[in-house]
């Protein structure tokens, strides 16, 4: 039997394993963005969609969204370049203010902390927080040394690949700024993290102490100045709290 190998129909099939898919329901809905699970050319991904906010003037809103997408793309890339892990960028739609990026499987630092609180005894908990905090502080130190301020450091914006506290992946760079960064801005970046930890995790002072330890160790030139500014910012914060 002769088989005609040039049969046209034989070639009309798409290669498998490189598809596009997107969940209909978001896995996260924040004030600024929705996150959907997706597949991008066969890779597990998420799509971060910044939507229009009705309460903001539409031109301003559009400009802000574009600015945030830009800041996020640049922050994610810059962090990679200085050895701080961030999700891989797969696609950006500048028109629709969407970023498709690698889906990091695991959990957030926030979830991990509350999980080990349940599973560990007091000493283990403290030790675990301590070694994680030092590593996180080192990462923040590296970013600051490269003149990147994250802008929204919280334990939700720190992901742990495979739930492993040694595999930190930083996300949510929409508020980050780069270049001409002052010691004050770095101090505020740290302060934001301190407050976020305090309001999210009770009895976790050890964590931020260790963050500062790691931060100082990673010691870019500006680390000392930033820590001094942190102290100033704290003072101002306390005064504000007293006045109410």
């Amino acid at each position: 039997m002769d088989v005609d190998m040039n049969d046209e129909t034989a070639e009309e099939k798409y290669e498998e394993g490189f598809g596009f898919e997107m969940d209909r329901k978001p896995m996260s809905q924040g004030a600024e963005a929705r996150i959907f699970k997706s597949m991008y050319l066969g890779k597990p991904s998420i799509i971060k969609q910044r939507f229009a906010k009705k309460y903001r003037h539409s031109t301003l809103d559009e400009r802000l969204n574009k600015h945030r997408v830009r800041a996020e793309v640049k922050g994610i890339m810059k962090a990679k370049q200085v050895g701080v892990e961030t999700p891989a960028l797969y696609f950006v739609d500048g028109e629709r203010n969407e970023i498709v990026m690698e889906r990091v499987e695991g959990c957030s630092a926030k979830e991990w902390i509350e999980k080990i609180r349940k599973e560990n005894d007091e000493k283990e908990f403290k030790d675990n927080l301590s070694s994680f905090g030092i590593l996180l502080g080192t990462k923040v130190g590296k970013l600051h040394a490269a003149s990147v301020v994250h802008g929204d450091l919280t334990t939700s914006n720190v992901l742990l690949r495979d739930g492993n506290p040694q595999q930190i992946v930083l996300i949510d760079f929409g508020l980050c700024s780069q270049m001409k960064i002052t010691a004050e801005e770095k101090g505020v970046d740290l302060y934001v993290l301190e407050r976020a930890i305090a309001s999210t995790h009770h009895d976790s002072e050890q964590l931020f102490k260790s963050v500062l330890e790691g931060y100082e160790k990673s010691g870019g030139k500006g680390a000392k100045g930033a820590l001094e500014k942190l102290e100033e910012v704290r003072m101002r914060g306390r005064k504000r709290d007293m006045i109410g």
Partner: protein, 193 residues
């Protein structure tokens, strides 16, 4: 059973068809790209000339610089997206694809780096919108070389040169993360400055 090939040079099944989405997750818009790897190519000089004078409308790419099909498809999807929004930096989809592979914003440098060279003996041919495969078949007749299974691409990759071009020299990466870093660089290009 006897397999007979009408055209001894082209055995179908060696070229691959992939689906793209100009606006990802908008299923109403679709695009496709067909890719075929050629080895033992002996007429690269002539092929370059034909690309230049428009006789060939396909991207002819150096396979040694393409770190896997995913990277090529990510660049291809950027290409059809830019096309759909009238934002191409070059004059044709084929040139835009080659440009999209490059981390550089210098168009002519990018085309020289990622397009085939006079000395090339292997190439990746890519054609957009060729569902039937007829364009690839026509192209195949002009390439003095052997259509080769895409799986062979791994053997041709020059990882050292790729790391240099994408400035990934210091860190150690496994295959997946290297391909992810390359894609990140490509996406970042449109936002650099």
């Amino acid at each position: 059973m006897i397999y007979r090939r009408k055209n001894s040079r082209m055995s179908p099944g060696l070229s691959r068809l992939y689906q793209l989405q100009p606006d990802p997750y908008d299923n109403t818009q679709k695009a496709t790209i067909r890719i075929c790897l050629f080895t033992e190519v002996t007429n690269a000089v002539e092929l370059r000339e034909k690309v230049r004078n428009g006789e060939i409308d396909a991207a002819l790419i150096r396979p040694e610089l393409v770190y896997g099909v995913y990277v090529l498809l990510a660049a291809a999807n950027r290409t059809v997206h830019q096309m759909a929004h009238n934002r191409m930096a070059t004059r044709s989809l084929s040139a835009e694809l080659i440009y999209s592979l490059s981390p550089s914003r210098n168009i002519s440098d990018s085309l020289v780096t990622f397009g085939i060279a006079e000395k090339s003996t292997a190439l990746l041919a890519a054609v957009f919108d060729d569902k039937s495969g007829s364009a690839m078949k026509k192209l195949c007749k002009q390439i003095a070389g052997k259509p080769t299974d895409m799986g062979e691409l791994n053997e041709l990759i020059n990882a050292k040169q790729i790391r240099k071009i994408y400035q990934l020299t210091d860190a150690v990466y496994n295959d997946d993360s290297l391909s992810d870093h390359i894609t990140s660089r490509l996406v970042y290009k449109d936002f650099a400055s």
